[in-house]
């Protein structure tokens, strides 16, 4: 008072103001991140699942139809198109086809979940960065970049030969026939006559 006094201690006010600014920055940044990622809704994930189905289902259908034709040619060549063995093989092939369709459908759901998980992870990372002190603008830019990367079409591998147990057996049978061995109709080949051997199912997808 008499000697001019010390400057006032404003450390608490400064800290409080900084915290208010920090909260405001986090709230604003979080809102911007959420806005950027809002396009990843149920419709987006359904579309992703559909694109997976659209990619793999025609390939599976083609493989199924081709294998079915090969079976028909083989049994037709032997005049056994109306045999029980042929019916059995077609039924087994069809059952296998159903299993594979299930697998593809299930995997398309997995794809949706995987994509959603990745988006959520990105969102959480960005919010953590924000809480760690990153600026709103830089985090908003990162959000845009990550969202764009997430919307890039996924790269799928072509479907593997899921009916290889049938096609391999047909090829073996054809090879034996070419060598003059006629006694092994396809329907009685061990690979095709078994009770649905464990090796007959191949996982589809990448």
């Amino acid at each position: 008072m008499c000697f001019g006094g010390s400057p006032p201690d404003q450390s608490a006010e400064i800290a409080r103001q900084k915290e208010v600014d920090r909260q405001s920055r986090i709230n604003e940044g979080t809102e911007r991140i959420n806005n950027t990622f809002s396009k990843f809704d149920d419709g987006y994930y359904s579309g992703l699942g559909k694109s997976y189905l659209d990619y793999y289902t025609p390939q599976l259908d083609t493989q199924y139809n081709d294998t079915k034709k090969q079976l028909a040619y083989k049994y037709g060549d032997q005049g056994a198109l109306d045999s029980g063995a042929y019916n059995n093989d077609v039924a087994r092939l069809t059952r296998e086809y159903g299993v594979q369709r299930n697998q593809i459908t299930d995997k398309s759901l997995e794809q949706q979940q995987g994509a959603r998980s990745a988006v959520e992870q990105n969102r959480a990372d960005l919010i953590s960065q924000l809480e760690g002190g990153a600026g709103v603008e830089s985090v908003a830019s990162s959000a845009l970049a990550r969202a764009e990367a997430a919307t890039r079409p996924p790269v799928y591998s072509p479907l593997a030969d899921v009916f290889s147990s049938f096609t391999n057996a047909l090829a073996t049978s054809r090879g034996l026939q070419n060598q003059g061995y006629q006694g092994l109709p396809i329907g009685r080949s061990p690979a095709l006559l078994g009770s649905g051997g464990n090796n007959s199912v191949k996982t589809v997808g990448p």
Binding site: M1, C2, G5, D9, S11, A12, E13, A15, R16, E19, R22, Q23, I26, T30, G49, L53, T57, D61, N65, K68, K69, A72, G76, L81, D82, S83, G84, Y86, N87, N88, V90, A91, R92, T94, R95, Y97, G98, V99, R101, N102, I104, T105, D106, S108, L109, Q113, R116, S117, E120, A124, I127, E131
Partner: protein, 222 residues
């Protein structure tokens, strides 16, 4: 009555009283300031508590037994429908057969194909039911991740605010600095006045000569 020592005593007493008053004012200001800080922090903490409650209230209903059962069923229905929609519709027309095949053979093939398809459908249903648990778990984990993130953020706000409130309380202890300085001045002035008033000059009084007794012995005493 108007002797300097008396005046000094009165002024000294008045200054001491003023000092005590200023001290009290300074203490009151500190208390008021601390209360103000505490009330403001309590209001902030209450607000954070409300925010956290709102987050929990949004999350908790999803985790009741009924809601979980319903969630699993909903996911199962969704999956079943999704898989069923994507299951092939097949008939005999797609299967090559010899034209002259007996009806027994044709019927046999039709029956086998029906079995194959129903096998696929049954498997799809089982797979959907099984996958529904996974889907429900996934939904739960997404919800919990959001909840954790929101609660973590609110907790962070609350912690930091409490820390700053500590600083603010420290600052509040410095309130009333002017009054305290004045009180100190008054206290010193009061002490000087009282001392002067009691001693007359502010110095120790001269020692009186020792009384002489009849016995010729001196006695020094108070």
């Amino acid at each position: 009555m108007c002797e300097p020592t008396t005046i000094s005593l009165v002024v000294g007493a008045a200054m001491s009283a003023a000092s005590m008053y200023m001290q009290k004012k300074a203490q009151d200001e500190v208390v008021n300031k601390r209360n103000e800080v505490a009330h403001a922090e309590a209001a902030r903490e209450t607000e954070y508590q409300h925010q956290a409650d709102a987050v929990n209230q949004k999350t908790e209903p999803q985790f009741t037994r009924e809601a979980q059962d319903a969630g699993i069923n909903q996911e199962a229905d969704k999956r079943e429908k999704y898989i069923a929609d994507n299951m092939p519709q097949m008939n005999l027309s797609g299967v090559p057969q010899s034209e002259g095949a007996p009806s027994t053979v044709k019927n046999d093939l039709a029956s086998r194909l029906r079995d194959a398809l129903s096998y696929g459908r049954n498997m799809a249903t089982s797979q959907a039911r099984l996958g529904a648990y996974g889907s429900n778990q996934f939904n739960n984990s997404v919800t919990l991740a959001h909840t954790n993130q929101d609660l973590g953020r609110i907790t962070g706000y609350s912690d930091r605010s409490s820390n700053i409130a500590g600083l603010e309380l420290g600052g509040a202890n410095q309130a009333g600095g002017d009054q305290r300085q004045l009180a100190d001045l008054f206290r010193l002035g009061g002490q000087a006045g009282l001392m002067y008033g009691m001693t007359g000059s502010g110095v120790r009084p001269q020692q009186a000569p020792a009384p002489v007794t009849d016995l010729g012995r001196s006695y020094v005493g108070p």
